[in-house]
């Protein structure tokens, strides 16, 4: 399950997508809209995505993950539109035979998503708004990741 959607993410649906009898560990990561950025109050977040490209990028991350951690499965859904504080912007579920692979694969998936999947975030403040880039986003002049 790989999707970009404007409606709130149902975490249980993402989690169920990775269930299997050989799984001994399931790890569900939620990125959540936080009420501040380095202490500055944030009222909400707006996410925008290039959906037709974001989903294939998620699928490519999943294929790489399955190669690096055999037996692991991943599902990921990213939200778009206006989010209230406390709402999930992204949900990534990973299952694996053992927990060590589950943690490693989950970290890989969220790190890769932040670096490659075309999604943008705008923070809303009391006095305006600003686009905020991930530290993981490749900087100018680099070739395609």
């Amino acid at each position: 399950m790989f999707a970009v959607q404007a409606s709130p993410i149902d975490v249980s649906v993402v989690r169920e997508a990775v269930g299997r009898p050989g799984a001994g560990a399931v790890l569900v990561f939620e990125g959540v809209a936080r009420d501040n950025f380095d202490g500055r109050p944030v009222l909400g977040l707006d996410y925008e995505a290039y959906a037709e490209m974001a989903v294939p990028q998620m699928e490519a991350i999943a294929a790489e993950l399955a190669t690096r951690w055999p037996g692991a499965r991943v599902a990921m859904v990213h939200r778009t539109g206006s989010l209230e504080i406390g709402e999930a912007s992204v949900v990534i579920a990973v299952s694996a035979p053992h927990r060590v692979e589950a943690y490693e694969a989950s970290r890989f998936a969220i790190d890769a998503l932040k670096a490659r999947v075309p999604v943008w975030k705008k923070e809303r403040y009391a006095d305006g708004a600003a686009w905020k880039a991930n530290a993981e986003s490749p900087t100018t002049g680099v070739e395609a990741p």
Partner: protein, 78 residues
């Protein structure tokens, strides 16, 4: 030749539209099209990655008739 350009996030706001059709000469690269639509000025250009037909490409990728091009500003997903 005709190129379909998708604009997102800060570039969408700068350009004032989500989609535009641009006529360019054969041999035009992704980077050249970016310079055309977002000329480097006093403020400099936003660093971007380049995507053609929903896949990342090198900045020097040569465009062909009908390509869908997007300039990918710094990502904020997650």
């Amino acid at each position: 030749m005709k190129i379909h350009v998708r604009h997102f996030a800060v570039l969408r706001e700068q350009r004032g539209c989500e989609l535009e059709e641009v006529e360019v000469a054969p041999g035009t690269t992704a980077a050249a099209l970016y310079d055309l639509l977002f000329p480097p000025g006093l403020e400099g250009q936003l660093p971007v990655l380049f995507a053609v037909n929903q896949a990342y490409v090198a900045r020097a990728a040569v465009l062909v008739e009908g390509d869908e091009v997007a300039f990918i500003p710094p990502l904020g997903g997650g």
